[in-house]
């Protein structure tokens, strides 16, 4: 019975969404306040019914209700409870339901917390948000109903792909979706602003918290996914430039650009149409990600089951939402007034460079991701793949200058900056950076020049960002107590920026160390085999068979010594899941700040392969890899700090002398 309730609730949510997609925006056009305010109740109704649907599916998973097709395909009665729960969003249908739930949550959040937003803008925003809801709920109801039943019900389920049975991955999709879908509300704001024909500093301020919230969820989601790939997949890497990774990365890059360009719109009333465009593109890229992952358009290690009908439906959705919003942009953006004027050397110019680089980087990733498709279409079926060499060669050289500018940017003042003065201040930082890099070179030796250049820039970013903070609190210039008072009074958004920028520097150490100075050994082993790697002596002691709740595993035992001194034991596993009939590799990792010693074993893929049934042992040493996770956490925390800034919480920003665009005929009376 519960699944039918869920199904029915979904239909009711659709009804609510349809009402919300028409009534408030009509109200805004006619100045009918009641119609505008109806959005509050319909958005809450949407959340209510979407939650019922979601909990109905959750209940089916938790109780292992094998009359529901989705549960049969993605769960098993022996699975640990956490993964039963996670199974509810592990499939295409379930993840869509989660997507819809988050979509409605954001809509309701705006209607409840956005009390400072003018009625007409809020009403239009919520209507646009409801259009997206309608698109996705109909998509679910017509092509991907998670509540479909099976008859007769099977005795047990087919299990969730064992690779996905991991705590990191259980949390990864919800966070990622919070990011993706969070940008939907920013998109709705942008489209509403285009319809109103008005963008000003106040608009940017209303949009900013939502952008930040979406951005930090996406950051956390991507970092968690990367962490999962690193620990679970057993490939010993954290980023593979796989299409599915790229489609989550593109909205992140665009969203980062948006975050910065919105600052300019907020503070200086400039970059208006650009900010609007970024808002549209960021969510468009999120939608594109959904499309690519679910349509089977590209080959990837992790895609959902493919169904051309679904692909066509999402493409239609994309055409309407992206095509429609960009057409609206083309129509309305040209009449927007340019805002504050600035000199080539100024904070605005610095942020413009940031935006141009991030947009170009996004373009590179987009092009690389879709190039195989373009190529196949244009050459009549010939295929090629674009891999890490392209992305590394194209992406890294363009991002390094960004890191350089990031060090200087925060020192620049608005409108016109005193570059010689700034460079004067940074001289000491530059000297220290070079010295520190030389020290790194002296300790490490060996390795490519690009590696040292990257290290140099990471150190530069780290120190320049800290320096900027000390300048703000006038450390050593004024008495210490005065500095402390200044530090305490700095807005949280400043700390957010400092933390996020140093976080990127910290993560960069991880990126560089673990990719440039990684060492790897792959050998066949038998009990007693010895391997030497990165100064460690590793002995393979033997293998034993162990049993888990829904798998059996071969567990290897490795003893690690350094200079004859015992360091640790490692127990990598090769697991077999009988129900899902698949194997996974559970790597064993000795993790320190200096680096991870990473071991994984694999049985030969078939009996006849492998030399005499020997196991393949793969050992990697990944220096500094933990800095990636620490840096990512700093990025997220920085975003959170900035989000908690009082500027965004209190003091309802008002449209002071709100500037209206020239053709005010389009702007309704308020």
């Amino acid at each position: 019975m519960t699944p039918e309730i869920g199904h029915f609730a979904l239909a009711l949510a659709l009804a609510m969404a349809i009402v919300q997609s028409v009534l408030p925006i009509l109200g805004a056009a006619r100045g009918n306040i009641l119609w505008m305010q109806s959005a509050k109740w319909s958005s809450l109704g949407q959340v209510f019914f979407a939650s019922i649907a979601f909990f109905a599916l959750l209940q089916a998973f938790v109780t292992s209700d094998f009359t529901v097709k989705n549960v049969v395909e993605n769960s098993h009665s022996l699975k640990p409870m956490l993964f039963k729960v996670a199974g509810s969003w592990g499939s295409h249908e379930g993840s869509l339901l989660l997507w819809v739930l988050i979509l409605t949550v954001f809509g309701a959040a705006v209607s409840v917390f956005g009390s400072n937003i003018p009625d007409s803008l809020k009403a239009r925003t919520l209507s646009v948000q409801a259009w997206i809801s309608v698109g996705f709920i109909t998509f679910m109801l017509f092509t991907s109903n998670p509540f479909d039943r099976v008859f007769p019900p099977p005795v047990d389920g087919q299990d969730l792909n064992p690779l996905l049975q991991d705590v990191g991955l259980a949390m990864h999709p919800p966070l990622l979706y919070f990011g993706y879908v969070g940008f939907s509300i920013v998109f709705s704001f942008a489209v509403a602003a285009l319809i109103e024909g008005r963008v000003d500093a106040a608009w940017a301020r209303w949009v900013r918290p939502w952008t930040l919230a979406a951005w930090l969820s996406l950051t956390a989601g991507i970092a968690l996914g990367s962490w999962w790939a690193y620990y679970e997949l057993g490939w010993g890497g954290w980023w593979f430039w796989d299409p599915v990774e790229n489609v989550s990365f593109m909205p992140w890059l665009m969203g980062t650009a948006l975050l910065h360009s919105a600052i300019v719109t907020e503070k200086r009333d400039a970059f208006k149409s650009w900010t609007i465009l970024l808002a549209i593109l960021t969510f468009s890229l999120s939608l594109l990600g959904t499309f690519i992952v679910r349509s089977g358009l590209l080959t990837s290690v992790h895609a959902f089951a493919v169904d051309p009908e679904r692909g066509l439906y999402i493409l239609g959705l994309l055409a309407v939402s992206i095509g429609g919003s960009l057409a609206l942009f083309a129509w309305r953006a040209p009449v927007m007034e340019p805002g504050g004027i600035f000199k080539p050397i100024s904070r605005e110019a610095g942020l413009l460079i940031n935006n141009l680089i991030l947009a170009t980087a996004t373009g590179i990733v987009l092009f690389g991701t879709l190039y195989p498709l373009f190529y196949e279409a244009l050459t009549d079926g010939q295929k090629l793949s674009v891999g890490p060499p392209f992305f590394n060669a194209a992406f890294i050289p363009i991002m390094l200058p960004l890191v350089f500018v990031m060090g200087i940017g925060p020192f620049l003042s608005w409108k016109r900056a005193d570059l010689p003065g700034v460079l004067q201040r940074l001289r000491i930082v530059a000297v220290l950076t070079v010295l520190a890099t030389l020290a790194v070179w002296y300790i490490v030796r060996g390795g490519p020049v690009l590696g040292y250049l990257s290290i140099l820039l990471a150190i530069w970013l780290f120190m320049a960002t800290l320096k900027e903070w000390t300048v703000r609190i006038k450390l050593f210039e004024v008495p210490f107590t005065e500095s402390r008072r200044r530090a305490a009074n700095l807005p949280r958004s400043v700390y957010g920026m400092t933390l996020a920028h140093t976080g990127l520097a910290v993560a960069m150490f991880g990126f560089i160390g673990s990719s440039v100075w990684k060492t790897e050994e792959i050998v066949f082993v038998q009990p007693g085999s010895q391997i030497e790697i990165a100064g460690f002596d590793v002995t393979f002691e033997g293998l034993e068979r162990v049993r888990g709740p829904n798998y059996v595993a071969d567990r290897g035992k490795l003893t690690v010594r350094q200079d004859g001194v015992f360091v640790t034991e490692l127990f990598p596993e090769s697991r077999y899941y009988p129900v899902a009939e698949s194997n996974t590799t559970e790597s064993a990792i000795r993790s320190t700040m200096a680096g991870d010693l990473y071991a994984s074993i694999a049985r030969p893929a078939s009996e006849e392969a492998g030399a005499g049934g020997a196991l393949t042992l793969r050992i990697l040493y990944e220096p500094l890899v933990n800095f990636i996770w620490i840096g990512s956490a700093m990025l997220v925390l920085g975003g959170g700090l900035s989000l908690s800034d009082r500027r965004l919480r209190v003091g309802a920003p008002r449209r002071g002398a709100a500037k209206k665009i020239s053709d005010s005929a389009q702007v309704p009376a308020e």
Binding site: F291, S295, L326, F329, P338, Q382, I522, A605, S606, A611
Partner: protein, 188 residues
Amino acid sequence: MTRALALIPLLIAVVFGGFFLWGLDPDRDPNDIPSVLISQQAPEFTLMDVEGLATPSFARTDLVGNPGPVIVNVFASWCVPCRAEHAVLTRLVESEGQRLFGINYKDKPEDATRWLAELGNPYEKIGADSTGRAGIEWGISGVPETFIVGADGTVLYRYVGPVVGDDAVGKFREALVQAGALERRVGG
């Protein structure tokens, strides 16, 4: 901002949409990698032998005038799946009498020599493709890849990835049977 400039994003999106629509064709399988070489003559290449290895060098001329189809395998010591595949290929040579030629792709001679010393050397001839030039001629997308070449030097079959596991070995054996290099297994 001028109107023309504001139209650019829309135009780009429309072009992308066109490609996506094309890509959704249900008959299209992005995982299927065809080879332009199939039923064509094997490409022209001449490779030196692997330094320090007794196995003779390998060139295009070795692929014509053979009494039957032969197997050409692209491998490298740095390629993990090649290890797993190696045993399968060795069995095809030793117990089924297949003839196997190797292209040692972007490898160091000393690594390749050590690798073959450790695992055994089933290759009749091996060419050292240190620059990857022959790999380009053969149009490989990665290592390992395995081709079946007919007696007249025509490329009959291409397998991308390691020939490992029942499914893959089955497919490859079937291709060998069709090429006439192998008797169909009784019951298989």
